[in-house]
């Protein structure tokens, strides 16, 4: 299990490749990898969005993302999980979150990956502030999944 908070942009595909390469013990064991990448849109609630600031409560965020990962590992038969989440200044098309779940079979990885993102969105203390033209606004609710 790995949870990481990043203040700078990252390439989820490079990160994923590097992470998997650094885990040779997984090779040959996993038959399924389910991945979710959340990316910033340039629109929300009917407005163009130029940029976003993602605020968080660092220690609580880390704690709850680790708890969510542990819950997924208890609930499904998983080989490994990875959560990387951005904070700070974010531009449209920047990845915000990368989730990956490795398991022997897809029946374990798919629901576990879904669990990670849905629990993250309701429990991890992050807050989005969008820049729309010359104004800024706090995002007050999650969009429907």
């Amino acid at each position: 299990m790995s949870v990481e908070l990043r203040g700078k942009p990252f390439d989820p595909w490079q990160v994923l490749q590097a992470y998997q390469n650094a885990k040779p013990e997984l090779a040959g064991k996993f038959g399924a990898t389910s991945i979710f990448v959340g990316t910033m849109r340039d629109f929300n609630d009917g407005n163009d969005v130029q940029a976003m600031t993602l605020e968080h409560y660092p220690a609580m965020t880390q704690k709850h993302l680790e708890a969510i990962s542990s819950e997924a590992e208890q609930r499904w038969d998983l080989l490994d999980t990875l959560i990387i989440h951005r904070y700070g200044e974010i531009q449209p098309n920047d990845p915000i979150v990368l989730l990956a779940v490795w398991s022997a079979h897809r029946s374990e990885s798919f629901p576990a990956c879904r669990y990670l993102i849905e629990e993250l969105k309701t429990r991890a203390p992050f807050w989005k502030q969008e820049m729309t033209g010359t104004n800024s606004r706090w995002v007050e609710h999650n969009t429907l999944g």
């Binding site: 993602l54 409560y57 709850h64 915000i96 969105k121 429990r123 203390p125 807050w127 007050e140 609710h141």
Partner: protein, 77 residues
């Protein structure tokens, strides 16, 4: 020792500060922390509360050395 208070996001802007440190005397619950730290501001509807980084309610007990945070619904991911 004292009680550390944190406000995040839109709540920080509404209250006008990001943190506070309170003497634990006269504090029993998170509601007491809110009242003292905000100078009796009305609780914000749908605000969330965490005591030592675990979700809690306003009527939950707070003790000396605790960290109490108040924030709006979360919007990560």
């Amino acid at each position: 020792m004292s009680i550390t208070v944190k406000f995040f996001a839109s709540l920080r802007e509404t209250i006008g500060k990001s943190d506070a440190s309170l003497d634990a005397d006269n504090i029993t619950t998170a509601a007491d922390v809110w009242q003292i730290a905000t100078d009796n501001h009305n609780p914000i509807s749908n605000m969330l509360i965490a005591i030592n980084m675990e979700y809690a309610s306003l009527d939950e007990t707070v003790k000396d050395g605790d960290e109490v945070a108040f924030f709006p619904p979360v919007t990560g991911g």
